[in-house]
């Protein structure tokens, strides 16, 4: 933009001058990126420990009551990791994820990128479906090869969030209710 320096300064001469007037500095400058402390808390660690596992045989449907998800952190990452962990622990699935309505993954474990990539177009397509009176398109299930992906969606002022679970079978209506409840609990604090 400029042909010539605005200050008409000769860098070499200036460097020598600065060296002659600079005081000894008391300490080294603070590093640009200070250590930020602990890594994500237990929920995240748990979700990352295991590699993707092959689909397990469908567990017998237990009749026990699923404990409600209790969120104890106000940190979004921790909350989302806890949600994924809770889903894996208490629902018959081998993978789970949370995505926004553009298909951006917020947290995931045990699923392929392809599943998550599907979320964006899927939720976009459901926007039109939702416009049909009497159709609740905020939950559903889809066969993907040998796996079934079940999902629930909730909407907030900041847009939609989707909790998905991948397993051998589609989740029951009761299980989807539980997922929806857990997802609502989680995104309420985001």
């Amino acid at each position: 933009m400029m042909g010539r320096s605005v200050s008409w300064t000769e860098p070499e001469k200036l460097a020598a001058l600065l060296a002659s007037v600079a005081p000894p500095r008391p300490a080294a400058l603070v590093p640009l990126v200070p250590a930020m402390g602990a890594m994500r808390a237990a929920g995240g660690a748990r979700a990352r420990t295991a590699a993707v596992t092959p689909p397990a045989p469908a567990p017998p449907a237990p009749k026990k009551v699923t404990p409600r998800l209790v969120q104890t952190s106000d940190n979004p990452s921790d909350r989302l990791d806890a949600l994924v962990g809770w889903t894996l622990d208490h629902q018959p699935c081998t993978g789970a994820f949370v995505a926004d309505d553009n298909g951006l993954t917020l947290a995931a474990h045990g699923i392929s990128e392809a599943h998550v990539a599907l979320v964006g177009p899927l939720l976009s397509a459901l926007v039109a479906v939702r416009a049909i009176p009497g159709i609740d398109a905020s939950r559903g299930a889809l066969w993907l090869g040998t796996n079934m992906m079940s999902w629930v969606e909730t909407r907030t002022e900041r847009g939609g969030f989707c909790l998905g679970a991948v397993g051998r079978e589609a989740l029951s209506i009761e299980a989807l209710d539980e997922l929806r409840d857990a997802l609502d609990t989680t995104v309420r604090g985001l």
Partner: protein, 124 residues
């Protein structure tokens, strides 16, 4: 008047969300370059992104494109993403470590929260 306490709290919230994925952030007045809140702030970045944003906005307008909305991202070498959030009279830059920060959380949670907080700070 802008409530800088709210901005400070918003930066603290952002650090809490992105943790060590957030390398630096700065919120500044785009006219004066006055930095109002931040973390690991770098004035050179303030000047640079003010200029880039101005160029971007004027180029979009000149090309009859829709104007810049909430933010833009620059994928930079070294696994870093620069995010510039448009708060109107204020701009915010974030330097994010891609390996440590979740892009989904950044876009779906952190940026919307920042936009709300800064809007609240400007209302005061």
């Amino acid at each position: 008047m802008i409530d800088t306490k709210i901005l400070d709290a918003a930066v603290s919230d952002l650090r809490n969300i992105l943790r060590d994925g957030l390398v630096a952030t700065d919120i500044w007045d785009r006219t004066a370059g006055l930095s109002l809140a931040g973390y690991n702030q770098q004035p050179v970045a303030v000047a640079l992104f003010t200029r880039i944003t101005q160029e971007l906005e004027s180029s979009l307008v000149d090309s009859s494109f829709p104007p810049l909305a909430r933010y833009y991202l620059l994928d930079m070498e070294g696994n870093h993403t620069a995010v510039v959030v448009n708060h109107g009279t204020l701009l915010q830059g974030m330097l994010v470590d891609n390996k440590r920060a979740n892009l989904g959380i950044l876009i779906a949670v952190a940026i919307p929260r920042m936009l709300e907080s800064v809007a609240r700070a400007k209302l005061r």
